[in-house]
Symmetry: C2
Subunit: 393 residues, 2 copies
C-alpha cells in the first residue's frame, strides 16, 4: 500500500522540540528546553475539590455534549477579566473556548489562510504558531523584534509589498525572546496594521505572568475591531486540562465557531465546568500572585547566573514576565553545537533555529526558567558555561 | 475593516444541525434531531470517584502537559480491546488519543486531503464528516448504501474513474441510517479498496452499542494496512470529556501525530487519566451492557410505533445498534415540510438533506431514539403521524 499523503503534511517535519522533550523525560536531565509551568504551582487540592463538587452537583450536564462556543459563565468571566485588567470592552459573545491556546492558532489558520497567502510573524517567532499555520501552506514573512517590540520601519516596509492574512505576535513576554512590547510600540503597530487593514493575532498566553502584576493595554485596545486575542489557562491553572480561548468580534468569531465545530465539536466540557467551579471557590489572583513571585525569583537567578558565569560576549534578555530568557551568541559560536555538547552532560537548552522562518537563528537559544529549581538553574547554567569554554576558549 | 476570510471557511455554512439543536434547548421540545447519549446512562458516581482518586494520587502529573499520542496505558487498553473484541492485531503504538472521534476526521483530513482531491463517502453519509473534510476543500463523491452496506458495483465503478484520498464509512450502525454492513460486504469493500490502493477510514463510534453484544469483524480486519479506524468513548463513558482515538499503522500515525501536535499539542490529559482510572475501578462491560439493553428497548419501541402510527408508504430501518432510525418517505412528501410542521408542535426530527453531498435526500429523515424516554417516543411519533396526515391525506 502506497499512501498518498497531503502536501501540507509531507512538508511538515516532526517538531524538533518534540524530539528534544523525549530526551528530557530522563529524570537525570536538567531541561531548560521545554515550556512547562512548575508542577508545584498547580493547585491540585483546589482543582480536586472543584472536580468533586461539580460532578456531584451537576454531573449529568457536565459530562454531556455541550455548545461549540463553550460554557457561557466561563466566557462571561473571561470577558469581565478583559474589562478589569485591560479596560477592553468585550462581551461573552466574543469569546470561544478552545483546547489550550495552541488550538486557537489552528482555528485561525483555518479561518484566514488560503494556501500561498502571506502570513507575518515576529522574528524570532513562536514555533508552535509556525507549525500550526504551516498546515495551511502560507508563505511566511517576518519582522525583526527589537527590545521594545517589532521594528515598525520593517513592518511598514513589508506591508508595502505584501498583504498578509494577518500579523501574529506575542506582545507580553514573547516566546521565545521574553521581550515585552512598549506601550508606544503597541500603538504604532496598531496604527500601521489598521491602516493596512491587516488583522493582528495577539497571543497573550503570558499576560497574567507579568512579574510586577501591572497589566499593559494590549494592541487590541488600539485596534478593537481587527484585533484578535488568544488566551490560556495553562500557565495559571493547569496545562493538562487544555483550556484556552479566542477573543474576536462577532464577525470573526462566527467563522471561528464553524472551524471549531468541524474540528472537534466543542472543548472538553467537564474541564470547563471544573475550571469555573474552581474560579468560584478560590481567589485565582492570590494563586497567580504566588506564581509570579516564584517565577520572578527563578528568572532573576537565571539572568544573574548567566551574567556571572557566561562570557560577556553572550548577552541575554531580562524578562519582565513569562517563562523564557533568550541568549544571543557572538558570530563564532553555534547554539546547535552548544546544545549537543551540553546534552551529553545532561543539560538541555533549546537552539533558536526553529523560531526563525528563514532558517537562521543559530546564534540564539531559549532557556526556560519556570520548571527548574534554584539548584538546577545554578548547576545547569554552570554546565553550559563549561561547554562554551571547552568549545570556544 | 474588511476581513479576508479563507475560501474554505466562506464555503462552509453554519451547520444546520447546530441551528436545530438551539431550538431543542427548550425543555418543552421533544427532540429526535440530536445524537446525545442518554444522560441517565452516564455513570456520574463512578466518574466522580475516578476523578477524585486520580487527582489525589497523581494530580501534579495528571494536570501537567503530556505527550501528543496520549496516555500510554490507555492506548494499550484500547489496543487490547481491539484484540479481544475484533481479533485485530494492534499495538499501543498504533493508537493516538483525540478530542472525541470528530477530531479524528479533522486530523485525517489534514493528513490526506489536498484541495481538489476526491473524497468518497457513503450516500447518505455522516454530516459531521462532510463538514470536517469540507475544510480541506475536496470534491465529494458518494456510493449508495444498501441495507447490507455500500453498493459494491457502484463502488467499483466510481473507483474506475476516480482515485479518492480515502473512502470514509461507518460499518456498524451507520449514522444516519442505522444500517450495519454484512460480513460479506465488509470483505468485498476491503478487496475493492485494497486493489485500488485506497485507504478506508472506518468510523466505529457505535460498535460497542450493538444490541446483541456480538462484535462483527471490522473492514480493517480484511485490509490491516490500509484500514484506519476511529473510535470514541463518548457513547459508553462521557461525551463531554471528548475522548476518542485514531488507530492506524505507524506510517500513517506518524503523520497524524504531526497534525495533532500542530492542532492542539495533545488531548485533555486529566480526562485521559480519569478515564483510565475509571476503567481500572469499574467493569465497563457491565456498564455497556446496561446501555445496550436500554437503547434496544427504545429502538424497538420507536420502530414499533413508527410501523403502527405512520402510513405504510413510509418505511424505516430496523437498527441492530447505535442511536438512529432512518425514515424513507414516498416521492410526494418532503421531510423539510414535515420537519417544519412538527417543530411548530414542539417535536423535532432531522431532515435527511444535510447527509447528502449531492443536495438530495429530501425524502429521508433521521430519528434519534437514545435521548427520549418511552412516553416521549410514543407521543413524538404520534405528532409526526398527525403532521403527515394533515399535510398529505
Amino acid at each position: 500500500m502506497k499512501f498518498m499523503f497531503s502536501r501540507r503534511i509531507q512538508n511538515t517535519p516532526k517538531s524538533f522540540i518534540r524530539e528534544i522533550l523525549k530526551v528530557t523525560e530522563n529524570p537525570d536531565v536538567i531541561s531548560f528546553a521545554g515550556g512547562l509551568p512548575n508542577p508545584s504551582l498547580i493547585d491540585t487540592e483546589g482543582i480536586g475539590k472543584a472536580a468533586s463538587d461539580i460532578i456531584k452537583s451537576d454531573g449529568r450536564s457536565a459530562l454531556q455534549y455541550s455548545t461549540t462556543e463553550g460554557y457561557e459563565p466561563l466566557r462571561q468571566y473571561i470577558a469581565d477579566r478583559y474589562a478589569k485588567r485591560y479596560n477592553l470592552d468585550v462581551s461573552a459573545d466574543e469569546i470561544l473556548i478552545t483546547n489550550g491556546s495552541q488550538q486557537c492558532l489552528d482555528l485561525l489558520g483555518k479561518v484566514f489562510i488560503n494556501n500561498g497567502d502571506s502570513v507575518l510573524m515576529e522574528k524570532p517567532g513562536y514555533l508552535g504558531a509556525i507549525q500550526s499555520f504551516s498546515l495551511y501552506e502560507p508563505e511566511f514573512h517576518s519582522v525583526s523584534l527589537q527590545d521594545d517590540g517589532p521594528d515598525t520601519g520593517e513592518l511598514s516596509s513589508v506591508l508595502s509589498e505584501e498583504l498578509p492574512a494577518f500579523f501574529y505576535g506575542i506582545p507580553n513576554s514573547q516566546n521565545p525572546t521574553g521581550i515585552t512590547y512598549s506601550d508606544e510600540k503597541r500603538k504604532e503597530v496598531a496604527e500601521i496594521l489598521n491602516e493596512a487593514e491587516v488583522p493582528f493575532i495577539e497571543d497573550d498566553a503570558y499576560g497574567e505572568l507579568r512579574f510586577d502584576g501591572k497589566a499593559i493595554k494590549p494592541v487590541k485596545y488600539y485596534m478593537p475591531e481587527a484585533g484578535i486575542m488568544t488566551g490560556s489557562f495553562s500557565k495559571i491553572f493547569s496545562p493538562g486540562m487544555r483550556l484556552g480561548w479566542v477573543c474576536a468580534t462577532p464577525e470573526v468569531l462566527d467563522k471561528v465557531i464553524i472551524a471549531k465545530q468541524a474540528s472537534d465539536l466543542h472543548s472538553n466540557y467537564l474541564s470547563q465546568r471544573i475550571l469555573y467551579q474552581y474560579l468560584e471557590e478560590n481567589n485565582i489572583d492570590t494563586h497567580i500572585e504566588k506564581i509570579r513571585a516564584e517565577y520572578k525569583k527563578r528568572a532573576d537567578l537565571m539572568v544573574k547566573t548567566i551574567r556571572s558565569e557566561l562570557p560577556p560576549e553572550i548577552t541575554c534578555t531580562q524578562p519582565e514576565g513569562g517563562m523564557f530568557v533568550w541568549l544571543r551568541f557572538p558570530d563564532n559560536m553555534s547554539s546547535m553545537k552548544i546544545f549537543e555538547k551540553a546534552s551529553e552532560k545532561n543539560v538541555v537548552i533549546l537552539p533558536g533555529m526553529p523560531f526563525y522562518v528563514d532558517g537562521k537563528g543559530d546564534k540564539t537559544a531559549r532557556l526556560n526558567f519556570t520548571n527548574s529549581d534554584e539548584e538546577e538553574i545554578k548547576y545547569g547554567i554552570g554546565v553550559v558555561a563549561d561547554v562554551i569554554k571547552e568549545l570556544y576558549y
